[in-house]
């Protein structure tokens, strides 16, 4: 424990990152059980209240408490981004490991497919998937995962190519270690630090992508709160109730900045 604090003291990136993401994750976790107000309770009397001690971030056009909705929205965003990165990361490891290690014609084909996916703007591509499969939380996760997989494939693949001819892997082959065991027991642990950084970056991109999709109204559907959707709702009241837009907007910035600092801190620690 002392060691952890020592490291945090030395590594200001890590410290700032841990604090910022810590607060965000804590709020999101609390929101599962409790929010100051119900996120859906409307109140005609409290429409567009400015931030106060009663409503920390003010209220929206239906008189709902924005702080509560930001808490919930952050939870949704973090959950979706996590699932997207988990799915894409797992697919990336599997495909990247196989193509990188074995190479050959399959590798060429897979790489050209990932090139093609990378050629489209991610939101556009996710849009296509959503139109094909229909909107909704689950499909949003799947479509974003598909969009995010290629970047993980690339990183994992290049690491596997780098390590597949390492002396210790040649030796493992000589010892008669099976191919799958070489892939996932001998090589995989060695790419962890590189992979971890790409997961962090991927997570940030997933937050932005999810917010963007929700903003366009093709992500999570109301009455569920997400940061992107709140931003889009607030658009019309930018001059009359600026806090309505500022609250979710700054929350997105907070989340992304926190995670950037965290990943930079971890990278420097390694």
């Amino acid at each position: 424990m002392k060691k952890v604090f020592g490291r945090l003291k030395q590594n200001k990136y890590l410290l700032a990152g841990v604090i910022m993401t810590g607060i965000a994750v804590l709020l999101a976790l609390v929101s599962i059980f409790w929010t100051p107000y119900s996120t859906t309770a409307m109140s005609a009397a409290e429409k567009f209240d400015a931030p106060s001690f009663r409503h920390l971030f003010g209220t929206d056009n239906f008189g709902r408490d924005i702080f509560s909705r930001v808490m919930k929205g952050m939870g949704t965003t973090i959950l979706i981004s996590t699932l997207v990165v988990l799915l894409a990361g797992a697919a990336g490891i599997l495909i990247g490991a196989l193509t990188g290690y074995f190479g050959g014609i399959v590798d060429e084909i897979v790489m050209r497919i990932t090139d093609a996916i990378n050629g489209f703007p991610s939101i556009l591509l996710a849009l296509v998937v959503i139109t094909l499969m229909g909107s909704g939380r689950q499909n949003l996760i799947i479509s974003l995962a598909i969009v995010f997989t290629p970047s993980f494939v690339r990183i994992v693949r290049s690491e596997f190519i780098r390590l597949r001819d390492a002396d210790y892997i040649l030796r493992a082959r000589l010892m008669g270690v099976g191919k799958l065991r070489i892939l996932f027991v001998h090589i995989l642990p060695n790419i962890f630090s590189t992979f971890w950084v790409s997961v962090m970056i991927g997570f940030n991109n997933a937050i932005l992508a999810e917010s963007g999709m929700s903003y366009l109204g093709i992500g999570v559907q109301p009455p569920d709160a997400t940061l992107g959707m709140m931003l889009s709702d607030a658009q019309g009241y930018l001059t009359t109730a600026p806090w309505y837009a500022l609250a979710p907007g700054l929350s997105i910035v907070w989340l992304v900045l926190g995670f950037s600092l965290l990943s930079e801190g971890i990278r420097r620690q390694a």
Partner: protein, 533 residues
């Protein structure tokens, strides 16, 4: 000429050079020898003003003739240094590939020295001077070399270009930091001769840094032995090599493999029948490996989808047999096909013609670089057990319980001379010599009959080198192993091997008993190899 007084250099508060004093007289070649981490390179870099900014000079002064170059506590005078670097003192580095700019013609790179330090030369005169320098370092085709890029030259030629660059302004001092370490033995000798010739002709002083005592002996007038940042001993070559005073110097000299010190050969004769005169009868052992008419080639450009694949033949018509319990030394210069041949024997190269017959289980391999041959993510204990686990996964009959595996791993750890505590460590916490021990343990734990050792001691310091060779000898006897021992160092081969096989350009030139080959080599190439050392 050069005087270093009481020099101490520290990185992050740890002193790597401690109170070192050294003088180099005019025209003298002083050798600094020591194992890695002894502070010899830092000393040279500090003297040249090239040591990194993180280093602090904690004490001492450096004089060049009457000029005070550096004094502890005062900031480095960069302008003063710049006027000395190149023109009055210059440096030759170890790696000729990385010390030349790959995007510029070498002629222009050497000319750069003239542009920076002279003012009165025309472009034509400069080129003439460069060509002259090329000729003086033995680059006969100077005009052509001038137009070449570094990658178009061989390692030896690149090093000659580096030397030309270092001497073109006739500096009073040339510092050579392991200038021959990256080169083949025969090229190594040429470079040493060249440095000697330059020293004679230009009468400049040289500081020659090396880990190789043989080279220091051949080139230097005086030698300074360093250890852990201290000067252990210094004196003339004769004093140091013939009458070393310090224990450490003696140990270093003893560790150097040489002809006089063929290791006591025990196991080869075990089981041999001696005749009435006490002479060994011809060996009556079973073969462990038979290689016949072996051609090995590899596909060039096979990683690309569209480029046409070219077949490149690396080994041609290799035929030899290995006896059980024998150490066969394989010697040859880089690129002669040693490694390709060994990979073919291991079954890791599929492009083979001819036959390879094993009379034992899968051979194992020990690699040169101890830093890349152990998986950094795993503990030593895990690594040692992995061959056993793999065998169990492959075939139920070899399956072992966890306790048995651990016991075997501990046993092997002791066999290679390491204590129990290393079992739980990762390879990053081990020194090069310790890692090589683990590599050996890992290769031997499945008790293979045949082990291929590809330059297993080349990356190690001399004293460690001697220990590892000793260990391999001991294990070979205990476990009745056969080694195919690959090395570029003919002395190492001499010490280790029962028989020697000489390779050149993919062909086996000569094969025979060690003593026989050394006493009367038949082929011209073998003679040349033996003469180099």
């Amino acid at each position: 000429m050069i005087k270093i007084e009481n020099l101490s250099v520290a990185f992050d508060g740890t002193e790597v050079v401690k109170k070192l004093s050294l003088t180099i007289a005019d025209g003298e070649i002083v050798g600094v020898v020591g194992e890695s981490g002894s502070g010899k390179s830092v000393t040279a870099l500090t003297m040249m003003g090239l040591v990194s900014e993180e280093a602090t000079i904690t004490s001492g002064k450096i004089w060049y003739d009457d000029t005070l170059l550096l004094e502890a506590g005062k900031p480095r005078d960069k302008a003063l240094y710049r006027s000395f670097q190149g023109s009055k003192m210059s440096m030759i580095f170890q790696e000729p590939m990385t010390s030349l700019n790959p995007t510029k013609r070498v002629g222009n790179q050497v000319e750069e020295m003239l542009k920076l330090h002279t003012t009165d030369l025309t472009a034509k005169q400069m080129k003439e001077k460069v060509l002259e320098a090329f000729l003086s370092v033995g680059l006969k085709d100077a005009e052509r070399v001038y137009e070449c890029y570094p990658h178009q030259l061989s390692g030896g030629m690149r090093q000659r270009v580096m030397i030309a660059m270092a001497i073109i302004l006739h500096p009073g001092l040339v510092v050579a930091d392991e200038p021959t370490t990256a080169l083949d033995v025969s090229v190594q000798s040429q470079i040493i001769r060249l440095l000697r010739k330059i020293n004679k002709e230009q009468k400049n002083s040289m500081l020659f840094i090396t880990h190789d005592l043989n080279l220091a002996k051949r080139l230097c007038n005086r030698v300074v032995v360093m250890k852990d940042g201290n000067v252990v001993e210094s004196g003339t070559v004769n004093e140091i090599f013939d009458h070393p005073k310090e224990e450490y110097t003696r140990k270093l000299i003893e560790a150097v493999p040489s002809r006089e010190k063929k290791m006591q050969r025990f196991s080869m004769n075990v089981g041999d029948i001696q005749n009435a005169n006490g002479q060994n009868m011809p060996l009556q052992r079973p073969d462990i490996l038979e290689v016949k008419d072996l051609n090995v080639s590899y596909m060039d450009g096979s990683n690309s989808l569209f480029s046409s694949k070219k077949k490149k033949q690396v080994v041609t018509g290799a035929t030899f047999t290995m006896k059980q319990g024998e150490i066969l030394g394989l010697v040859g210069e880089s690129g002669c096909g040693k490694t390709t041949l060994s990979k073919a024997i291991l079954g890791m190269n599929k492009d083979v013609e001819g036959s390879i017959i094993h009379h034992s289980n899968q051979p194992q391999m020990i690699f040169q670089d101890p830093y890349s041959s152990l998986n950094p993510a795993k503990t030593i204990g895990w690594l040692l057990q992995e061959p056993l686990r793999a065998a169990g996964l492959r075939d139920k009959q070899f399956e072992m319980t966890k306790a048995d595996r651990e016991a075997a791993a501990f046993d092997m750890l002791h066999k290679v001379g390491l204590s129990d505590k290393y079992f739980y460590r990762k390879s990053s916490q081990l020194s090069g010599g310790q890692r090589q021990r683990i590599s050996i343990a890992q290769a031997l734990i499945t008790r293979p009959g045949l082990v291929i050792a590809d330059e297993p001691v080349s990356a190690l310091d001399v004293t460690i080198q001697a220990q590892i060779m000793e260990l391999m000898r001991k294990l070979q006897e205990e476990m009745k192993l056969s080694f195919l021992f690959i090395s570029h160092d003919i002395n190492v081969i001499y010490q280790m091997s029962d028989r020697i096989m000489v390779m050149k350009e993919g062909r086996i030139v000569e094969i025979g008993e060690t003593q026989e080959i050394f006493d009367n080599p038949k082929e011209a190439y073998t003679k040349q190899l033996l003469a180099e050392v």
